[in-house]
Amino acid sequence: METIVFYGFATTAVGSALLLVSMRNIARALFLFFIVLFSVAGLYLFALADFVAITQILIYVGGVLVLLLFAFMLSNKELLQQLHSGTSHFFALPVWQALLIAASFLAILVYTAIQGGTDEPAWITASKMAGTAIHPTDNTVEQIGLQIMTQYLLPFEVVSVLLMMALIGAAHLTRKEETP
C-alpha cells in the first residue's frame, strides 16, 4: 500500500515536471510547477520528514510560486493572447543537444543510485543494525528545533545574515533610479 502511494506521488512529480519543460505556455507551466512542488512535498513525508514537507508547501507554494506568477504577469504583455492561442503549439521544439546532456546525466545518476543500492555506505548499514533510523512515531519537530539551536547554530546564523543580504539586494535592485 505504502509503495503504491509512493509510486503515485513519484509519477505525478516526474510526469508534471516533464510536461512542464515541454510546454510552450508559461502560465500553464507555472501551474504545473505547483503540482510538482506538492507531490515532492508528499515524497518528503515518505522519508519521515514531516516538518520539511510543511516548510516546502509554506515557502515554495506560498512564497516562491506567487513571486514567479507576479514576475510572469509583469514581464509578459501578451498574457491573454498566449492563453488563448496556447493550444496550437502545445509542445515546444525539442533542443536535441539539451536533451542529450540531460539524458546522459539521468543515465549516470540512475546507474550510481542502483550501484549504491546494492553496495550501500557503511554508516547506513550500521544505522539499520543499531536501529537508529528515524521511526514514524518519533517527534521530529522537537528534535529539529533542538539541533538547530545547538549543533547547527552557526549555519543558522550564517543563513540569517545571507537572508538579510538578499533582502537588501533585492530592494536595491528594484528601487527607482534617481534622475541626476
Binding site: V40, V52, V95, L106, L163
Partner: protein, 101 residues
C-alpha cells in the same frame, strides 16, 4: 518502508528534467523554474539520507537551509529579471548580449 534507491532514482529524474529546462528554454522565468527543480531533487536526496541519521538530524536540517537559500535566490533573481525586462523588453536570455549600457 521505501528503500533509498527509490528516492535516489526519483531525484535523478527531477534533476535531469530541471537540467533540460535550464539548457533548452528561451524564457528566463522557466530557466529559474528549472533551477528550482534541480534544488528540489537535491533536497529529496538530503531528506532520504537524513532518515538514517537520528542522532543529529543533519539531512532534514540542511534540507530546511536549502529551501531557505532557494527562496532567497528566487527573490534576487526575479528582481534582476524584472530589471532586465525594463531595459531590453525581453526575458529571452539570448537577447541579452550587452554587459553595460
Amino acid at each position: 518502508m521505501i528503500t533509498l534507491t527509490h528516492f535516489l532514482v526519483v531525484g535523478a529524474c527531477l534533476f535531469s528534467t530541471g537540467l533540460y529546462a535550464v539548457l533548452s528554454r528561451r524564457n528566463a522565468l522557466l530557466v529559474l523554474v528549472g533551477i528550482e527543480l534541480m534544488i528540489n531533487a537535491a533536497i529529496v536526496n538530503l531528506v532520504a539520507f537524513g532518515r538514517y541519521d537520528k542522532s543529529l538530524y543533519g539531512g532534514q536540517v540542511f534540507a530546511l537551509f536549502a529551501i531557505v537559500l532557494a527562496a532567497a535566490a528566487v527573490a534576487v533573481a526575479l528582481a534582476i529579471i524584472l530589471n532586465v525586462y525594463k531595459f531590453y523588453k525581453s526575458v529571452n536570455p539570448e537577447d541579452i548580449s550587452n554587459l553595460k549600457d
